[in-house]
């Protein structure tokens, strides 16, 4: 009996879509409260979400099954679920964390400081930059931008609760 790993190889994305579809399907009852249907049509606010999620679940299952059959036959589907070139997921994760951190500290430290930190970290992650480029760009993107937005466009970015 071939291992589960072999059968499911290449189906990562379809498993994810299946699970998400299932989760949303199950949460429809809770999330959408209906009192009545639309007139005499029998359609309600839940109809379309049920249809959509059912279709997602079916298609995901279809893909998993056809993938499994292909795997059992020994075909290798090189297009499915695989990065071709070398990708540094670590850098992507770092970039994501930098943005997430920006979102978290923005209300406290204000736009200028948070953005300075974000720009500097992103530039370090990408690499290939001189230190003076990092400093200059961080300063330009934080302080003048905030004032430009406030005075010309009347768009106010937060100044941070720490500073009152």
């Amino acid at each position: 009996m071939p291992g589960l790993g072999l059968i499911l190889r290449g189906s990562t994305s379809s498993i994810v879509t299946l699970l998400v579809g299932l989760f949303v399907f199950l949460s429809i009852r809770d999330q959408i409260v209906v009192f009545s249907n639309d007139g005499l049509s029998g359609v309600s606010a839940r109809t379309l979400p049920y249809l959509i999620t059912s279709a997602i679940i079916l298609l995901s299952l279809l893909k998993i099954v056809s993938n499994a059959i292909g795997n059992l036959k020994g075909e290798t589907d090189s297009l499915e679920d695989g990065p071709k070139e070398a990708t540094s997921y670590l850098r992507v994760l770092l970039a994501f964390s930098a943005i997430a951190l920006w979102i978290i500290i923005l209300p406290y430290l204000g736009y200028e400081i948070s953005t300075m930190m974000l720009v500097a970290s992103v530039m370090i992650i990408i690499g290939n930059c001189r230190w003076w480029q990092i400093v200059t760009l961080s300063l330009i993107l934080s302080i003048p931008v905030k004032h430009l937005l406030a005075n010309v466009f009347r768009v106010y970015l937060p100044s941070g609760s720490v500073f009152g």
């Binding site: 990562t12 994305s13 879509t17 998400v20 949303v24 949460s27 999330q31 959408i32 409260v33 209906v34 009192f35 009545s36 639309d38 007139g39 005499l40 049509s41 029998g42 359609v43 606010a45 379309l48 979400p49 959509i52 279709a55 997602i56 298609l59 995901s60 279809l62 893909k63 297009l79 990065p83 070139e85 070398a86 990708t87 540094s88 850098r91 992507v92 970039a95 994501f96 943005i99 997430a100 920006w102 979102i103 923005l106 209300p107 953005t115 974000l118 720009v119 992103v122 530039m123 992650i125 990408i126 690499g127 290939n128 930059c129 760009l137 993107l141 937005l149 009347r154 768009v155 970015l157």
Partner: protein
């Protein structure tokens, strides 16, 4: 009528109004090109300044912003794969691959010419066909709107690239995202997960910023060999030749007409027009496989259509007092503040003003062309900036843009979440075009379908018994299945010929 036209020309060409047009188009271009700032926002911000101007000057200013803003969405769509306005989504499909190949200048050039031509044709339609088209627009009720938007949805099958299943799943998730928010018919919240922010639904712009810009930034960061420029720019072609657009003249005309027709229907919007025009251009093109990989024709179709919408949305606004889209509603508001009430009597009583609006559209497109030519040369240099500097700038702009949408971090969080989703889609090769189409059209499709079913007491026959939906239904079936049928027929013919040839040879061998 002639004296009205002469009056209009004399007013529009006053030096103050010329200055206003140039100012308006400049503002529009800036807002349209920056992701997160849309043309609607630009028009909203400019509106208060029109109160102190004369009605004609106010209109002139708003027109400049509107036309240029719609065009400028193509700039960021082409250069950084993030449409500056929803109506430029289809432009990114071919624009960004061209940037990757170093041909961004060509793409930008075609986009400019196509937009200007689309806008001019639209202005002509406004001048000559306004009342007629307006009457026709009223015939579009819920059933007709469903037929139109459903047809738009089926384009998904043609932009899914290699894997139809992946495209469908992508689209289904887009539809699901479109259902988040308050239900249009029953008024109950859906999928709000107890956060009040999601009552208003997941905003389109922050989703685009996430799926396109943030995801692409992640993508670039992830590539190990992040050295040098994003693409080598072909610096020879620095002159914008107007005859670059000539080979595509028929596409431009067709797409502009599609834009006009859809623009006239209230509540539809530039995106549907650009999708349908793109789809039609691909269908009738001699090189359909180029679409999605860098077809200038595709860019021409998308941009002529979305600028074709501009003047057309004013047709129902001015003749019926029913705004064609959000920007038209703002135009309406501007007129109301000056004490003018749109409608047929407006044409009779204020004919001069009406023709002023029409002439200013023409002037706005000309101003846009002039400024565009100057601007393109510098825009194009943007991609020469090393990614280490360019990416942080784009990222910051996107985060600010997302923030201004809701004046809070909520929309930034949405952008980041969709950035991850978009990145996953890139890595697992799920096409983003279907999801985006579904998000844009999903709400309209569901709302019009349910309205129609209420009217018909649940009978689906209503979609086949009325003339316009029937036409669209037949069109949908035709366009979806016709290419498949042709393909099969060609295959069959080939095998039949080969078979005949074989048996002929065998026969002639036997007879020897």
């Amino acid at each position: 009528m002639l004296e009205n036209i002469l009056y209009a020309i004399s007013v529009v060409f006053l030096w103050q109004n010329i200055v206003l047009i140039l100012l308006g188009t400049a503002i529009g271009m800036v807002f349209g090109a920056l992701p997160g700032l849309t043309v609607t926002l630009a028009v909203t911000l400019v509106l208060p300044f029109t109160f102190d101007l004369s009605p004609e000057s106010g209109i002139v200013l708003l027109t400049g912003v509107y036309c240029a803003g719609t065009y400028a969405g193509s700039i960021s769509a082409i250069l950084i794969n993030t449409p500056g306005t929803p109506s430029s989504v289809a432009t990114a499909w071919d624009g960004f691959p061209l940037t990757r190949k170093g041909r961004s200048f060509e793409a930008l050039s075609v986009a400019l010419h196509a937009s200007v031509l689309g806008g001019l044709i639209s202005a002509v339609a406004l001048i000559f066909f306004a009342p007629m088209l307006a009457k026709a627009a009223l015939a579009f009720g819920p059933t007709e709107r469903f037929a139109l938007t459903f047809f738009g949805l089926t384009i998904i099958s043609r932009v899914s690239g290699n894997s139809l299943t992946k495209g469908l799943i992508s689209a289904l998730f887009g539809l699901l995202i479109a259902t988040v928010g308050v239900d249009p018919i029953m008024g109950v919240p859906r999928f709000s997960f107890n956060t009040f922010y999601l009552y208003g639904g997941v905003g389109m712009i922050e989703v685009f910023i996430g799926i396109f810009a943030v995801a692409e930034i992640f993508n670039q960061i992830g590539k190990r060999a992040v050295a040098g420029v994003l693409s080598k720019d072909d610096s020879r072609r620095k002159i914008i030749r107007w005859n670059a657009i000539v080979p595509h003249y028929w596409t431009v005309i067709k797409s502009s007409v599609i834009g006009i027709v859809i623009g006239v229907i209230p509540g539809t919007g530039g995106s549907i027009a650009s999708f349908i025009a793109y789809d039609e251009a691909k269908r009738s093109s001699k090189e359909p496989d180029n679409f999605g990989k860098g077809s200038l024709e595709g860019i021409a179709a998308s941009e002529s259509a979305n600028n074709g919408v501009t003047a057309a949305t004013l047709i129902p606004t001015l003749t019926l007092g029913i705004p064609g889209n959000t920007v038209a509603a703002i135009f309406l508001g501007a007129l109301l503040i000056h004490g003018l009430t749109p409608g047929p009597q407006l044409f009779e009583n204020q004919g001069g003003l009406m023709y002023t609006i029409m002439i200013s559209f023409i002037l706005a497109n000309v101003a846009m062309y002039i400024q565009g030519r100057f601007a393109l040369k510098s825009f194009d240099k943007i991609i020469n900036i090393p990614p280490g500097i360019l990416l942080p700038i784009i990222l910051t702009m996107c985060l600010i843009g997302a923030y201004t949408i809701s004046n809070s971090l909520n929309s930034v969080i949405v952008a980041l979440v969709f950035g991850c989703v978009g990145y996953a889609m890139i890595k697992f090769e799920y096409p983003t075009a279907p999801m985006v189409i579904a998000i844009i059209l999903g709400g309209m499709v569901e709302e019009s379908m349910r309205q129609s079913l209420i009217l018909s007491d649940g009978s689906a026959m209503i979609f086949l018994t009325r003339p316009i939906p029937l036409v669209f239904f037949i069109l949908t079936v035709f366009v979806t299945f016709f290419p498949v049928v042709i393909q099969q027929w060609r295959k069959w013919r080939k095998t039949a010929v080969t078979r005949n040839l074989k048996s002929f040879r065998e026969n002639s061998k036997d007879s020897e």
